[in-house]
């Protein structure tokens, strides 16, 4: 029974299965090569990293499901980080946090609106906003690295509660659950899948482009903002030009999680697994005293491999579909021949 269920799951979601196996494999490699990897402290560290990377992975997963990509995500996160660090001392952490996340969300919302209104590709607009937001961040940070003076807040958000979790990672997990419910169980979530899976058909069916785009980019902005806030508060410092690596790491996470560049595929569960895989890799490499730039190399290779795997599977699927059509045609011919024998002659 159980075996059958697992088998049918594999058949239904081969991408997800691939992601789980990859995650498991990466975890095992480091678990065997490093004595410290399978400890409580490491798990906590992984969850801490997951808080940020998971958010960015989630945001990019949504964008790619909708058939777009948000290049400005790093800038948006940096802006939120700068805002929250800069204003925590004067306004208090909760207010600063709210302002930062609200600003990021509104930026995402405006981007979504323009993308739908102008009917342009998101990559085009977000390249522009990437630069724009860097400028704003530099302005807000007054071109310096901003720092917290009060380190109680970093301490608070990295306190351990419930074994492996901190307030930050718990918030992120709640966010995942919410977005997951939204994408799976609401009409609006389904619209996002539709607009990404087959844009022309979805528009012909009567879905307007505006709502899904605004929702996706607002969530993306929110995630970026929250991620930036967590990073800023946790480290106590923020740089206007930092957090560029988020885009690559987040994209890798999203693609490992099973989204397709063609849109309409993938989901929140995949994003979790993708983000975890990248985290295992990240943390493991750091534990093995690999320099930070090497992480980028590995991530790049991973992304290229996943993309090649996907391109290959698209070609394979096309071929499959063609065989299906040919089979259909053969059936039709058989039937027609039979009819002609029995009935009238041409």
């Amino acid at each position: 029974m159980a075996v059958e269920k697992i088998l049918s799951f594999i058949k239904q979601k081969p991408d997800l299965m691939f992601a789980i196996i990859l995650a498991f494999f990466v975890y095992c490699v480091f678990a065997f090569t490093n004595d410290y990897f399978m400890t409580h402290r490491t798990t906590f560290a992984i969850m801490e990293r997951f808080a940020v990377l998971g958010l960015v992975g989630l945001a990019l997963t949504l964008c790619i499901i909708a058939g777009e990509i948000d290049l400005s995500i790093g800038s948006n996160a940096a802006l939120a980080a700068v805002i929250v660090v800069r204003f925590t001392d004067s306004l208090g952490a909760p207010t600063a946090l709210l302002i930062a996340v609200a600003v990021s969300t509104i930026i995402g919302l405006i981007q979504g609106y323009f993308i739908a209104y102008l009917r342009i590709r998101a990559i085009v607009l977000t390249v522009g906003t990437l630069m724009l937001l860097r400028g704003i961040s530099l302005f807000v940070a007054e071109e310096k690295t901003v720092m917290l003076t009060d380190f109680r807040i970093p301490d608070f958000i990295t306190t351990k509660v419930l074994w492996y979790f901190s307030p930050a990672s718990l918030t992120v997990i709640a966010m995942f659950v919410l977005v997951g419910l939204f994408m799976n169980f609401t009409k609006y979530g389904r619209e996002i899948y539709a607009i990404g899976g087959a844009r022309k058909e979805a528009l012909a069916a009567g879905i307007s482009l505006k709502r899904p785009m605004i929702i996706v980019f607002a969530i993306s902005g929110f995630c970026a903002g929250l991620g930036g806030v967590i990073i800023g508060l946790r480290s106590g410092t923020a740089q206007a030009l930092g957090l560029q690596y988020l885009l690559l790491a987040g994209t890798v996470a999203a693609f490992i999680g099973g989204v397709s560049i063609l849109g309409g595929r993938g989901g929140v569960v995949g994003a979790v697994i993708g983000a975890l895989t990248v985290n295992f890799l990240n943390t493991g490499l750091v534990f093995n005293v690999t320099p930070a730039f090497m992480v980028q190399l590995y991530l790049g290779i991973l992304l290229l491999v996943v993309i090649m795997f996907q391109t290959g599977s698209v070609i394979f699927e096309k071929r499959q579909r063609r065989y299906q059509i040919l089979k259909d045609i053969d059936n039709r011919r058989e039937r027609l021949k039979k009819e002609m024998k029995g009935g009238a002659q041409p």
């Binding site: 899948y193 087959a198 058909e201 009567g206 063609r322 259909d328 045609i329 011919r333 039937r335």
Partner: protein, 503 residues
Amino acid sequence: MEEQLLSLSKITRSFGAIHALKEVSFDVMPGEVMGLVGENGAGKSSLVKIIGGFDSGYTGQLTFANKQVRFSGPVMAERAGIAIAQQELSLIPTMSVAENVLLVGDNVPKIATKRQLIKLVEPFLSEVGLDYIDPATSVERLSVGERHLVEVARLIAHDPQLLILDEPTAALGETDSIRILEMVERLVKRGKSVIYVSHRLDEIFKICDRITILRDGRSVAVKNTKGLSVSELVNSMLGRELENMFPKRISTSSKTPLLKVRDLWPDGLLDPVDLDIFPGEILGLAGQLGSGTGEILSAIAGAHPIRGGSLEMDGNVFMPKTPNEAIKAKIAYCSEDRKHDGLFLGRPIIENLTSTALKRIGNFGILQPSAENGLANDIAKGFTIDNSRLPSEAGVLSGGNQQKVALGKWLAISPKVILVNEPTRGVDVGARAEIYQTLHKLAKKGTAIVIASTDLQEIANLPTRIIAFYRGLKVSELGYREVSAENILTQITDPFGAAKLER
């Protein structure tokens, strides 16, 4: 007599000087299947667009459910209770059947689990005869026929009074078509009205109660199906006075074929085909949408997947795998969709015209403006394209001139064979005549021309001989003397006499 559900009177729709519809009257009773037939360009699509609210620029009266209305958009028509199944499906292949059925509309639940959705769609699916499929399967796993049914299920979910099916079986095989017909019968039993637009006369006879015939934008007749004969219907559909736009048909051609097509089996055809194409003739491939004529042409040009086959020209046996290889063999192919792959709309006309022969206008990779201008001017002259407009973008041209450019660019390679799918789709009358003249001239010079067309007048009056196709099968070959519109119409709509057998 009952009240009509939908009634149109004196509907006129014009685009500039062209009348797409002229004082058309049309009505549908509750619980009736109304057939809408006519040749291509007779105005069926324009009429359907008006009823569905896609087009509000008409004059005349439209009454629906006893109210005089003018829909400003498709959403308005949908709210009023009119649903249209377009030829092109609007399903999302990656999503499940249930999600596709409940994708848009006011009555779609805002929050629902997958299981709830499945429960909700079950009645709609059983209504269209799809109760055997699991609503959780994704649409990409369904056959084309099943997809059409899912599309209708989505329409039914809005609970429409009137359902318009625009050539629902054009791309379908026999079995799937039968299921569509069964579904229509089921819907009518439940009191819905259906407008059934189709080219397939056998189907029309099978399910329609009455038939409205459009011809040249006018509604020429409304007839009861009972007691109507096929030939009577065909006669009312044709009968268009022939404007003097066709050149005299070329009667004879050379005895030795220029291009021999052997065992070519493009995807979409039921059997491999053999063709002999002679220099100096215009060969017509007659057939409706889904008959496979277009696939044959694009397969010869290396633009369509095939199962096998070969071409023979000048003693060389080959099979182009890409358009590039076909071009090298001097085979030119013009597809039916010029906007998709026939034109570079954003580029100047002159660049369009010489795009196929960059080698010819270049010297070691350097373009020679004088050579380019000369070549473009020659082509423009041959196709009556205004010389002074060569530097402007192709996108600003009218449909007819665009088609001339799309065809003309192939003259740059001095082709031996020209394959044209739908040579005059969306082309105004004047440009049409010019295109026919040019094709005629080219054939006289010894070029072999093959056209595939669903336009009956065109296919009956332009080609030297005709090969007719029906649902992916070659059904017959008509020589110079046998070609006539009636003959072709029977061959491509009802070659096996099914409609006559029924009655």
